[in-house]
């Protein structure tokens, strides 16, 4: 796929400044772009990098004076970037509509119009797959699970029985939805599993990365709210309830029955204890361990996590401990001297 800058400007509705004949075949970052790529600048501090960039053109929201490169001026660089990336996205063969002959689909399922069921997929009794959803190679969908429209399950995803998945949900390869949670009672010295009769509800527009686990609830449902995005290798325990539009980075673990409000952001490798609540819009820095409930809008860091402000102050002071110890030693010596002087007088 190759377009002139002029054609590209037209396709995305951008104002073109400069030579429209430059040919573009992809998108690249400011630093490593080659002359056939278009790059982008979101804020003024990166404009300087453009001077040395080899990119053939640039997406900007305001015209940059005296730049040698052609500029595509757009209202919102983020939106335009997504459009341009979609234009240059690799053209993959569509997964063919219908059921691959090597898939095993139980008789009493409902497969929506336009849905594609890939090779080696196994779909159990009473499953419903919505219109235009793509169930890729090797996925396993358990009894009575329901998927909405326009979903995409990548290769080898496992969805256990009774899980409910909304519309426009993406789940990447090797992820497990609806496994039994880690709930045991100690009876006569042995750990006995508490049966998990509940399910999982994944709401619309949720996207889940690769190799994640979302456990089913003991009773009721584990819930991932609409528009929430989850990175790879994330663990969502039984009965967790996640609000809408949260961002959950890689390798996060959320323990049983904890609740996240809307718009919560968890950095990579964060751990959240069981049975706590994290308020709307709270942001937890990477690797923190949250052991108590968090108010809306708070920013936390550390294990156990405190407010980011306190945690960073503590880190700074902790690093000054060697100096503090020395100072304590010097003060002690000065006091000893004063005491000796005092004793001399007596």
């Amino acid at each position: 796929m190759e377009l002139t800058v002029g054609q590209l400007a037209q396709q995305i509705g951008a104002d073109l400044v400069g030579d429209g004949s430059v040919r573009i075949s992809g998108v690249g970052p400011v630093k490593s772009g080659d002359k056939n790529t278009i790059t982008f600048v979101k804020d003024s501090k990166h404009i300087a990098s453009l001077e040395t960039s080899r990119a053939g053109a640039v997406l900007v929201s305001r015209r940059i004076e005296e730049l040698a490169k052609p500029q595509l001026i757009v209202e919102n660089v983020d939106v335009a970037l997504i459009e341009v990336l979609n234009i240059f996205a690799p053209r993959l063969r569509q997964v063919p509509e219908g059921i691959d002959p090597t898939a095993k689909v139980a008789r009493d399922t409902k497969i929506g119009k336009g849905a594609a069921i890939g090779p080696g997929v196994v779909i159990d009794d009473k499953v419903e797959i919505g219109e235009n959803s793509v169930i890729s190679r090797g996925c396993k969908i358990g009894e009575n699970a329901k998927l909405g429209k326009n979903c995409r399950l990548d290769s080898n995803v496992v969805v256990y029985h009774n899980c409910i998945i909304g519309d426009n949900v993406v789940i990447q390869a090797n992820t497990t939805i609806g496994s039994v949670g880690f709930g045991y009672s100690c009876i006569d010295g042995a750990h006995r599993l508490i049966p998990h009769n509940g399910g999982v509800v994944i709401e619309d527009f949720v996207e889940i990365g690769a190799n994640c686990c979302v456990d089913r609830a003991k009773f009721g449902d584990t819930v991932v709210g609409a528009g929430t995005k989850i990175d790879n290798l994330v663990q969502i325990a039984h009965n967790v309830v996640i609000g809408k539009r949260c961002l959950i980075a890689g390798q996060v673990g959320i323990a049983g029955s904890s609740k996240l409000g809307d718009g919560v952001v968890l950095g990579g490798q964060v751990g959240v204890s069981d049975n706590i609540e994290i308020g709307d819009g709270a942001m937890i820095a990477a690797q923190s361990g949250v052991t108590h409930s968090v108010r809306a809008g708070e920013q936390l860091f550390g294990t156990p996590a405190t407010t980011k402000r306190d945690a960073l102050k503590t880190v700074t002071l902790t690093r000054r401990l060697p100096k503090m110890a020395e100072r304590l030693q010097r003060l002690s010596e000065r006091i000893a001297k004063l005491e000796a002087a005092e004793n001399d007088k007596r």
Copy 2:
């Protein structure tokens, strides 16, 4: 499935107090239960919540006076709860006994009576599967692996060659047993893999969550002891030996050749260094990093982990560092004043 409270009491052998005609169709927590659920109270501090609970009935170990709800009085609430949950568990279609026609089973295997081999399963030479074990869709079992009776391997589990799995073992979806461990020798500047001739032994009644890894041993075996329960996304490295009835929470990592005694509890995201021993009944708090051997019964926290008591004291004092720094400053000023007074006298 719906039962009256009276029928339910009869089925689990409970004493009924109150109206036996209330209809129940499931189990729920005290707070969110609806009137068709039965809830449960294990200790007296949660009795107050029952007043406002909408649940239709309650499991208790001692009669609660003046409660409007029907009560099922049982000896052990934990045991009764498991029984009741099993009664209301979703009725799933049994995986049919025998070998699915799309499974690929080598000729010289032994498949026990009542065992079920699901679609797309691949079973290599000399594998043995015990009676009534269920090997779900897409599992791959390597040459010479042995599984006991009544096991359940969920979808897409991979068991490498020569691994030995006992009776009544559950392994959830997308878990890998017997991968080669992370053991390299640096030879002439390159990392060369040390061949892993050993295997994995998973003893009876072990339950392993989804997307876990248990590496095979270099020599001898990586061992998971009987009755141990492992949550999701856990990493068990080569030659690790885990005792009996341990509880290992999500995203824990145990490095090579470390040993856990019996009844050890590791919180979520704990890391255990290689070549150390953790004594019977030790409890390690979530996110801790254990860098040295731990005595039986110890409770540890932090990275590097110390006794929980010391670690919490340290956390408290660390948070007081800003005040300590101020105090040090004030003492310094008071000393300076005393020194000045002393100098005046000379």
Copy 3:
């Protein structure tokens, strides 16, 4: 497989000291070896353990005087150990060359001579598989992906479209290569995925453990450099570039666009922030959180990570905080006493 010590010495070119007729059928550690195993000692401090070892023979680099056991003296114990382990490795049935009838291979692929495509594998259009590569049961290879020679993909590995894998690469079970990264723009209050047009490049001799994730790049490539070894459950985010011969332990997470030089070692559960650089040969201790760029050769520890020397000093002093607090209290009392004496005089 059983050999006499004499035969073994001959096969690996070792000098034999002692009885060559002892029969050996495997390799074991010094402590737990039985009489049919050969053990090994790499450095002099472990020689004492040999006295009590039950092993039938030992690999050493220098003759040990007065040892009752037969000794195989070799130039490099690491090299000899790998040779001996290979001799005693379990003999598994070769995966048969060619395409299993249950595999689904698109027509316009190139499958090299001697390559083996296992049961249930799905290979999409325009994929290339090099000579003698083994694609195990249940793997899914996306459109236009290229694999080199002598690769081994274990069961249920998923490689997305356009990923490039070199020669002699090993990827263990349930690992995902080329999933879409965690890159979103917030547009009108919703998180919209930034299309990931880039790919993944895995260079020669890379080995990746089980249940890992390597995300594809937004543009350009996520790169794992030649000879780098990656343990289980590791997360490599989009646009990460890893140098040659790195060692990345279990459950590490490397966030977007960060760069590792050559020979970097990351301990288990380390987290690396996005957009930073870690210089050649740097070593990061387990569970550390690296939040800023690291110079070549540095050794870091802690969250946020500092030099290992500073971090350990800080840990020591932090543990002395209770004593420091007491000392501060005593100093304060001594000052108060001096002040009282001073006041008396006025």
